[in-house]
């Protein structure tokens, strides 16, 4: 269970305080939910006091089951949702109170479903040039030039400029979505399951394109995905989220080689690699993802955890730093926490 001794070159270390391009500080987001017409109002805490930092040029993979708060976190980063408490710092400046259009120049999203994220009544040119028009960048001819350029970069021919989304294949649509995100030359791109709606052969094309764009433009990605093989392939650092908390964060090799949190292990065990000599794994995970409106006491993972012991059901687990700057939030590592403090 010892940490990997050397950090491989391709991994990224934790981000020092002043170098973060983007930093979340104790960010929480809760919603007030009414169940049924006359039901009482209840609070759903989607993100619970999360700290997260992104350094320039890295790819932070964010993994977890549906309902764990990954997409809420993405929305907060994009400025689409305001956090209930905590701070979002972009380039060291607090996001609260800032103009959203200014933020949009630095952070852009690519969403999962290229069928619903593109306006069906607009042409590809309209869709890709809209950010330029909103931000008042350039005039007609220069926008035209910029759109043609960016379409070329994402591998779309000039011919599609006048096409409507329904005339394009899934892969082409996702390329349009990528072009729209990149036309503003952002620093950070939030990719929320960018390939899960695509076929295998198209998925690999889009993943290759994303890698290529990162190398070429020095982009920083927050890469949200449920496909751990894809995350392992693309990410430099990985954060594992469970019920609104990041329960483990580590460099990608370390996380995949020595997963610490029992939930991380269960996630890795669930990955079905294409190996015909293996059967379907037994993840030893209990069935149900807990109800976020009524989360379990203590460690939120304890009802499903194969390694739970005495303190797990009533005591909130400590955040234990690991050797290479990551952390794990689990009672199993508590003694180590005492030793390192």
């Amino acid at each position: 269970m010892s940490a990997a001794d050397a950090v491989p070159l391709s991994e990224t270390p934790p981000v020092p305080e002043d170098e973060a391009l983007l930093r979340l500080k104790e960010v929480s987001k809760s919603y007030s939910i009414r169940r049924g017409l006359f039901g009482e109002r209840k609070t759903l805490t989607a993100v619970k006091s999360v700290d997260l930092a992104l350094a320039r040029g890295e790819v932070l993979g964010l993994v977890g089951e549906s309902g764990c708060g990954k997409s809420t976190l993405a929305k907060i980063l994009l400025g689409l949702e305001a956090p209930t408490s905590g701070d979002v710092l972009v380039g060291g400046q607090a996001l609260a109170g800032q103009d959203r259009t200014k933020l949009a120049r630095r952070i852009q999203p690519i969403f999962q479903d290229p069928y619903s994220s593109l306006n069906p009544r607009k042409t590809v040119f309209d869709i890709v040039s809209l950010p330029l028009r909103i931000h008042g960048i350039g005039d007609g001819p220069s926008r035209q030039k910029r759109v043609t350029e960016i379409l070329d970069i994402v591998g779309l021919s000039k011919r599609v400029t006048r096409a409507f989304p329904n005339q394009l294949s899934g892969g082409q649509r996702q390329r349009v979505a990528i072009a729209r995100a990149l036309v503003m030359k952002p620093e950070i791109v939030v990719c929320d399951e960018p390939t899960s709606a695509l076929d295998v052969s198209v998925q690999s094309q889009i993943l290759n394109l994303l890698s290529e764009l990162r190398r070429e433009f020095g982009l920083t990605y927050l890469f949200i995905s449920h496909d751990l093989a894809v995350v392992q392939h693309l990410a430099t650092r990985v954060a594992v989220m469970y019920l609104g908390r990041i329960v483990e964060e580590a460099g990608v090799d370390e996380l995949f080689e020595t997963p610490r949190h029992p939930y991380t292990r269960a996630l890795l065990d669930s990955v079905l690699t294409p190996d015909a000599s293996l059967g379907v794994p037994d993840t030893e995970l209990g069935a149900a993802f807990p109800n976020p409106i009524d989360p379990p006491s203590g460690c939120a993972f304890h009802p499903r955890c194969p390694k739970r012991f005495a303190p797990c059901d009533h005591e909130f687990p400590p955040t234990v730093p690991t050797k290479n700057g990551g952390f794990v939030e689990c009672h199993l590592y508590r003694e180590r926490a005492g030793a390192s403090q």
Partner: protein, 347 residues
């Protein structure tokens, strides 16, 4: 995952010969499925893998005779346990469906009726086919809910589908499919809408139940990881044809058809693909299947295409159960570009 050792194991449970499915569209006829053959033994799992539009779901719907009225299927033979499905009427099919052949769909919410409780739907699934009392059906349903890993089954009985999570709903759908102990389960992307952890659990459940009850299964998916872990045999479908069929080991360890090889190069495999390096890809797009399709439909995307690819393609065999459609023989394919194990890993 061997076929059951039953005496009947050697005669096919389901046999389909030369199935074609034509769909009339504005510009002519869409040849969605173009003359495919396959068979399934008792207790065996066949995975049909392919990308969207390859015809895999239509194939399963044709077996169940659930295709829309405007779609025209034709098969030289389609038999299930000696019953001629090709010529079976609607009444005979209704007796089979949900009883001897059950189906599990991708999206459990559309497979469940939102207006009835889980219990009512489970009980109905059995009473439609069997002369059992409500109490007997209820007992069977509770037993199955336990088997599919639903705790507190009694309390789930009176719940409506919208009150359950996606994983629970899919478990209910599986329990419903198993109410009459079918001989064949057709599962069309049963875990695609689910989280990875739930996917592994549901697949394991299906495989365990299948072994316990001796059911055969056709699993339709685009996920090669699922196929490798679940299948006894694999059929790779491309543009309406089965381009390669073989055991799971043959398809994953010694794929022959250039499309199968291309697909396997597209997915990142830990310890095989170098991190951050470009994944393999298949250039181009699936051709239109409207109008006459000649020769190999994959030739425009194939790096081994030759002039002969526009002519009818011979079916070749490598061993008794491994067949593929290609102008090249095994030796030529083995010398061809990039088998999955010597995939290029650029720095």
């Amino acid at each position: 995952m061997q076929a059951s050792q039953d005496d009947r194991a050697n005669e096919p449970l389901l046999a389909v010969r030369n199935l074609t499915i034509d769909i009339p569209v504005g510009g002519g006829t869409l040849h969605a499925v173009r003359g495919i053959d396959f068979e399934l033994k008792r207790g065996e799992t066949l995975c049909i893998v392919g990308e969207s539009g390859s015809g895999k779901s239509l194939t399963s719907l044709a077996v169940m005779k659930l295709l829309g009225k405007s779609i025209r299927p034709h098969a030289d033979a389609m038999t299930f346990e000696g019953t001629d499905l090709a010529n079976a009427g609607p009444k005979a099919m209704r007796r089979l469906r949900g009883d001897r052949i059950a189906m599990i769909f991708q999206e459990p919410m559309t497979a469940l009726n939102p207006a009835y409780t889980v219990g009512d739907q489970l009980i109905e699934a059995m009473r439609l086919h069997r002369p059992v009392s409500k109490a007997e059906a209820r007992a069977r349903a509770l037993d199955l809910l336990g088997k599919v890993g639903i705790t507190a089954a009694e309390s789930r009985f009176s719940q409506y589908p919208h009150q359950l999570s996606g994983g629970l709903r899919q478990r209910i759908v599986i329990a419903m499919a198993l109410m009459c102990e079918p001989d064949l389960v057709i599962a069309d992307e049963p875990t695609t809408a689910l989280d990875v952890t739930i996917q592994a659990q549901i697949l394991r459940l299906l495989v365990d139940l299948q072994r316990e009850l001796g059911m055969a299964m056709i699993l339709i998916t685009h996920d090669l990881g699922v196929v490798a872990r679940v299948a006894d045999r694999v059929a790779v479908m491309y543009a309406g044809e089965l381009v390669e069929t073989g055991s799971a080991a043959e398809i994953f360890n010694a794929p022959l058809h250039p499309y199968t090889r291309g697909l396997l190069r597209c997915i990142p495999v830990p310890d095989k693909t170098r991190r951050g390096a470009d994944l393999g890809s298949i250039p181009g797009i699936v051709p239109s299947l409207i109008g006459e399709v000649r020769g190999c439909a994959f030739r425009d995307r194939c790096d081994m295409a030759v002039a002969a690819c526009v002519e009818p393609i011979p079916e070749r065999n490598d061993g008794p159960a491994h067949s593929y459609l290609c102008v090249h023989d095994q030796a030529a394919l083995a010398d061809g570009p990039a088998a999955p194990d010597d995939r290029e890993v650029p720095a």
